[in-house]
Point group: C2
Chain length 235, copies 2
């Protein structure tokens, strides 16, 4: 039996293909197979970011992740995907799994590593997260000096969001999507909404940058983030 191939978790950055790292590009060009998550319609943002460097001869392994609230369908998708990837690894092939942003920062690579990490060697190539990209677009620091910076998932309850935001020097609320009105309500109650900016699809083709108080009352896409900081907003 061949030695196991290696599984690489590869961060491809927030959206602009120019924010791929040299290491990610070299790896993607050299690996036997490339896996990535796709949404319900079969589109993969991670693959689209790296499209220009995926060789035509690469084996591709899409993992169809259902966009539903329940966790079971997602678990089944990663069970199935990890079985397919394990087949390649067992044959001595090296496989890369593409992640938007960084693989270990709320990335779905974590679910693959949990299933494959005991039997197969794993290496992670860090990537540019959307947070730095959002700050760049808003023209404000994420955090400076001795400020505490908090990353807060928007699906948390309004009470949890209030607790975290009330005492944060600076914060990013991630995965905003359909939770926007709840988050804006919390920010208004804390008198922070006027200091907050929303960035959707940072550095990607559909990028938008909007002060939170200027956002109309309708749905936002999944890849949106709100940054809010108590310190001097002008750098």
């Amino acid at each position: 039996m061949a030695d196991s191939g290696k599984l690489y978790g590869i961060g491809v950055g927030p959206g602009d293909p120019e924010l791929l790292t040299l290491k990610a590009c070299a790896l993607i060009r050299s690996l036997d197979a490339i896996a990535y998550p796709t949404n319900g319609e079969g589109h993969s943002l991670a693959r689209s970011i790296a499209a220009d460097v995926i060789p035509a001869e690469s084996v591709e392994i899409p993992i169809h992740v259902p966009m539903v609230q329940e966790r079971e369908p997602g678990r089944a998708a990663f069970d199935q995907g990890s079985l397919e990837i394990a087949g390649h690894l067992d044959a001595g092939k090296h496989v890369g799994y593409l992640c938007v942003g960084d693989p270990l920062f709320y990335g779905s690579f974590i679910y693959l590593a949990a299933r494959l990490g005991e039997k197969h060697p794993i290496e992670v190539v860090p990537g540019v997260t959307s947070l730095g990209a959002c700050a760049a677009r808003l023209g404000q620091p994420l955090a400076a000096r001795n400020e505490v910076f908090r990353v807060i998932p928007a699906p948390l309850s309004a009470d949890q969001l209030t607790t975290e935001l009330a005492s944060a020097d600076s914060a990013a609320v991630i995965k905003v999507g359909r939770h926007f009105e709840k988050v804006r309500g919390v920010l208004r109650a804390l008198d922070l909404a006027g200091r907050a900016g929303l960035v959707a699809e940072a550095t990607g083709e559909g990028e938008t940058v909007t002060p939170v108080e200027d956002v109309p009352d309708d749905a936002q896409g999944y890849f949106s983030t709100i940054l809010v900081r108590r310190g001097d907003p002008q750098w």
Copy 2:
């Protein structure tokens, strides 16, 4: 008078030159002048990461940042450096300022932007932070699902560190350096030290990865970070 040149804040990543982005490389190769911070001995980690892509004909602008606790000498260094950079911008030259990690994530570019942003156009190119690199080396997620992730500067008081770490799902304590024993004491009091790992110079030549309880009682370098997470440590 010429139109102002543009000031670029360029993230060069945590240490491995292969973690430069394509965009950072292209910009560094094309700009008229490259600025960067240096420590007291004149060494610049940011410059060393990007050394292979800085053209021989680039004007270089080192900014000597004194490694002292007081803020005034640092302010004077950035006052002086921003004057020199402004001279190039006023002559219509484009200038890049290299930052380890990401320019807006505790980066010294924030100080330059505060001084130059009103009169000169600014663009920030985000970079890979050390946090993703530290997680990659420790083989654990920074954060997953709906966990709150906190970034906590080690110079804070033991009381502040305790407050932040006591209620964090997952945290990175940054700028550990000479504050290591204080941080370890707080982690021990919270029964978290056994779950914490220290990474120094992640992905750089002097990289070390050590469980916090295995660190000997002596000083650590500046570029060190402690990660601690309550969730499943094995992915």
